[in-house]
């Protein structure tokens, strides 16, 4: 659980304001990679950096905001339902797939988190910021499943994309 919490934190850092649910008996997750897991559990909601690309329709923007609100409240089923509505409206919007990946990561479904982040990247040509965020999700998901080499490779992808800019 701790590992997962840490993992989550790094992805969330890159992906704006999603809070993790607060498990009753476990220390809640933290947000910054530099802090340790045992530290105080405040979850910093960051301002949504790099919001939806201009082409995201208002209908989808509304659903994304609502979904992230639900995820913040720990209602992941609801968040997924709203994101799927968004996906049906804009099937190729990589931001929607990125949010699906994030919610799955928060849920602890690491395999889905990775697949969905890859799916997001398959539509994210020309959006390096988003690609970096997806690679971070992938790295976290892989590390969570014990695939350290894969995680390092994903982090490398993220770094090289960041360096390119």
């Amino acid at each position: 659980m701790r590992v997962l919490a840490l993992l989550l934190s790094t992805s969330l850092l890159g992906a704006c304001a999603v809070q993790t649910p607060q498990p009753r008996s476990e220390p809640p997750p933290v947000v910054d990679r530099s802090t340790t897991v045992d530290e105080a559990p405040t979850v910093t909601a960051r301002a949504p950096a790099r919001t939806a690309p201009a082409e995201t329709a208002p209908a989808v923007q509304g659903l994304l905001a609502e979904a992230m609100g639900a995820a913040r409240d720990g209602d992941l089923r609801q968040a997924l339902a709203l994101l799927e509505r968004a996906q049906r409206i804009e099937p190729r919007n990589p931001l929607v797939w990125n949010r699906l990946a994030l919610v799955r990561l928060q849920e602890g479904d690491l395999a889905q988190a990775e697949s969905l982040a890859l799916r997001s990247n398959s539509y994210a040509a020309g959006q390096p910021d988003l690609q970096v965020r997806n690679w971070r999700i992938i790295a976290d998901a892989r590390r969570g499943r014990g695939d350290d080499a894969g995680a390092r490779q994903a982090e490398g992808e993220a770094r090289s994309l960041s360096a390119d800019r």
Binding site: R77, A81, P91, S122
Partner: protein, 783 residues
């Protein structure tokens, strides 16, 4: 009128019954004396024991009925809700069709929920509130403007402000009934309009709140009336007795039955309070028949006769339903409107008499038309084949009796607009095909599966040319050889080895003989009975050449191809015989759709889904079926395959398609034909939708149709009607586009004769240049 809870809980029933059975008034005669008296005493005791036992038995029966059956509710199956937002592809006619399915009434001004007004390309509608699995959708008034096949504007009809997103209530596409075919929509007493309960009590049982289950004075009155008339003209049954009668569904009019009913009514009153009994009655009472389905309860009757929820009924409609209790078929407002009207007006008079409505209001209500919808909403599902798919998916998680009795709400992925187009495409194309062939008339069958490519949601499913009738569901159960539809798996296996195979790699389409395991020789031939020499890989697939495909498959290894099929989502075990390479793999149209879905989704495998969520009767989520994806193939490799499949439609065996739809759709597709034209297949996709069409005969005789003369036409008709999004998204990163000469497979230049631009994985494009026939554009420019 106030609803009084029952105040009496005395075991009156038992005592009264015993009293009835006691032959106490008889005198003992003669001097038989003591022995006789003793015999009598024992007899009496015996009778008492038997009587008590009998009452206990009736008590057990009636409580079982009351506790158990009153909650038995069929599952409701809903279509996807229609989402409205600016920019959505939808015509005004589409929306109107959806509204018709929903039972929205056309009006001049849409104010009441469930109404709409259309003015050319603008629709105003008043939606109904609905509780979805992901939250409530409020009722609202919307103005929707259409232009160019799209929703051009969506605004609040009152404020005029833009609305980003709205969703209609979902079309009820079917119900899963218990074995006895009773249907009902459960209502709670507090949701039932008081006019209704008051009218009901006034007409059926004025002493309802005062009696203990039976009303002797009412019985006496009825007996007197019947005696005078010499036949049964009046019933003295209380609401409680009627409820008991409804529970056991029999019209038997014997004294014993009457007695049992009376006893059970007393027992019911002893155990339950008046409101519980009234609520059960409101949900149980028989109010009509629709084929094999019986219409039970006011909730369903309201929908069945008025296509509106009970809470929205007006006085004259309430009066009609209450009046019908006396004889639902005799007073059937659709078959006998005049009788029904007289009965309704009588009820309205009683209501006025009792002060339930003001006299002028009652008179006004009597002037109203019956207001019954001309055709009843069908209880039989319009889409039995789709509901079949839903049932099968649910059967792994729910028991049959739960599906048919727990009142589950099942939200599915069915798109009724798409379904209608798919059914029409099948019907029209089969008719057109048969028109030229008398020997096939009525013999051809077809199936279609349509899927949203991104999410794997099945949006339409046609299981035969009579899609409205349940029966052999060919989309799921016609498991047939898939012929050339298997070929993309062979080529995908090759393209996964970019160092050996590209779209431009020349394949050998010369004669081939392969020795089978049993020593026999397999010598595949081409459909046109010719060999084509050296053919670039992309065109060998596009033209569906058998020999080069078989040779390629043998080079790659049949096991590898089977592995690719499994990667695409095939869920059957297939022996790796060489004949697999040319499609001796038996799959249903739905299974084929699963394979092509993985290609259409860029190599990400998503299990096909027909259900989004299942809620219980109270609206609590029982299960959801979230979108899941798994990367099965690299999206760049899939991009190459997709390009070859686009060539199959633009230049290959699917070329007939562009006579039906615009080439700008850039469809990727594949035809399939099996031995002696027994099966005709077409699988194809655009950006947003994938569809698989099949034509064949149930007796498996030859149809004389190839994939391109048969199934392709069904597919084309569907695509022409639906107008999907073109497949022209930019290629994924890591793809380079290079001009090549297909004749040689070598690099070429723009402007050279026959040069084409094909995608390659980095470093795999041919290096050496071909001689430029016709000269490059630069050369020509300089000439």
């Amino acid at each position: 009128m106030a609803r009084k809870p029952s105040s009496s809980r005395r075991p009156a029933a038992a005592r009264k019954t015993r009293a009835k059975r006691k032959p106490g008034k008889r005198k003992t005669r003669g001097r038989g004396g003591r022995a006789l008296r003793r015999l009598f005493a024992y007899g009496l005791l015996g009778l008492l024991v038997v009587g008590a036992g009998y009452v206990a038995y009736l008590d057990f029966e009636i409580r079982g009925q009351f506790e158990g059956r009153r909650w038995e509710l069929p599952a409701r199956v809903y279509a996807r809700p229609l989402e409205l937002y600016a920019g959505r592809q939808l015509t005004a006619d589409d929306l109107q069709y959806e509204l018709k399915l929903l039972g929205y009434r056309p009006v001049r001004r849409a104010q009441q929920g469930g109404t709409f007004a259309r003015d050319g390309q603008t629709l105003e509608l008043a939606t109904r509130a609905f509780q979805f699995w992901d939250g409530p959708e409020q009722a609202r008034r919307l103005r929707v403007g259409f232009s160019g096949g799209q929703v051009a504007s969506l605004a609040d009809a009152q404020s005029g402000r833009d609305v980003a997103l709205a969703r209609l209530d979902p079309v009820l596409v079917g119900s899963i009934y218990p074995a006895h075919n009773e249907d009902r929509i459960l209502v709670r007493l507090e949701d039932v309009p008081e006019t209704l309960t008051d009218a009901l009590i006034a007409v059926e049982d004025r002493q309802f709140y005062d009696h203990h289950g039976i009303a002797p004075s009412a019985v006496a009155r009825a007996v007197w009336a019947n005696l005078r008339a010499g036949r049964t003209v009046q019933g003295g049954s209380t609401i409680t007795q009627q409820l008991v009668k409804n529970f056991f569904l029999t019209s038997e009019r014997t004294l014993r039955r009457k007695l049992n009913e009376a006893v059970m009514a007393l027992l019911l009153e002893w155990h339950y309070d008046k409101n519980a009994i009234l609520e059960a009655y409101l949900n149980e009472v028989y109010l009509g028949q629709d084929g094999r389905r019986s219409i039970n309860g006011f909730g369903l009757a309201s929908q069945f006769y008025f296509q509106r929820p009970l809470s929205q009924l007006r006085a004259h409609e309430v009066a009609l339903l209450v009046g019908m209790i006396k004889g639902p078929s005799y007073y059937d407002p659709r078959r006998h409107p005049e009788r029904a009207r007289q009965r309704r007006d009588l009820v309205l008079s009683v209501m006025a008499e009792q002060g339930l409505v003001e006299a002028p209001a009652a008179a006004a209500a009597q002037r109203q038309a019956l207001g019954v919808s001309t055709t009843p909403p069908s209880g039989a599902t319009l889409y039995p084949n789709f509901v079949d798919l839903v049932r099968r998916q649910l059967r792994s998680e729910y028991r049959d009796e739960d599906l048919s009795s727990e009142g589950l709400q099942i939200f599915t992925t069915l798109d009724p607009l798409m379904q209608r187009q798919a059914e029409e495409a099948v019907e029209r194309q089969l008719r057109a095909i048969e028109a030229g062939r008398t020997e096939q008339k009525g013999q051809l069958q077809s199936a279609v599966v349509a899927v949203r490519t991104g999410s794997g949601e099945v949006v339409a499913l046609v299981g035969g040319r009579d899609g409205r009738y349940a029966g052999f569901n060919r989309a799921l159960d016609a498991v047939r050889p898939i012929g050339s539809l298997v070929k993309p798996a062979v080529y995908l296996t090759a393209l996964q080895r970019p160092q050996h195979y590209t779209l431009a790699t020349l394949l050998d389409d010369g004669p081939l003989a392969v020795r089978n395991h049993d020593g026999s020789l397999w010598e595949p031939g081409n459909y046109d009975h010719r060999f084509h020499g050296r053919v670039p890989l992309a065109l060998a697939l596009a033209h569906s050449y058998n020999v080069s495909t078989a040779r390629l498959g043998m080079e790659l290894g049949v096991e590898q191809v089977v592995k690719t099929l499994e990667g695409l989502g095939m869920d059957r075990s297939v022996k790796p015989y060489p004949s697999v390479l040319l499609g001796s793999v038996n799959l249903s149209p739905l299974e084929v759709a699963q394979l092509y879905q993985t290609v259409a989704a860029g190599g990400f495998r998503t299990p096909l889904r027909s259900i989004r969520a299942v809620l219980d009767a109270e609206g609590q989520a029982l299960s959801s079926y979230p979108l899941t994806v798994q990367r099965a193939f690299d999206e760049t490799t899939i991009h190459l395959l997709t390009r070859a499949l686009q060539l199959a439609v633009s230049d290959g065996t699917g070329a007939g398609l562009y006579a039906m739809v615009s080439p700008s759709l850039r469809v990727a597709g594949k035809t399939g034909t099996t031995d002696d034209t027994r099966d005709s297949w077409f699988a194809g996709f655009t950006e947003d939708y994938l569809a698989v069409a099949w034509i064949g005969r149930d007796d498996n005789r030859p149809t004389g149709l190839s994939g391109s003369t048969g199934a392709l036409r069904v597919w084309g008709a569907l695509a022409a009607a639906v107008q999907p999004t073109p497949l022209d998204a930019p290629p994924p990163g890591g793809i380079e586009s290079v001009w090549v000469d297909p004749a040689t497979g070598l690099r070429s230049e723009e402007g050279c004769e026959g040069a084409v631009r094909w995608p390659f994985l980095p470093g795999s494009a041919p290096a050496a240049g071909a001689e430029c026939r016709g000269g490059s554009w630069l050369q020509r420019l300089l000439r």
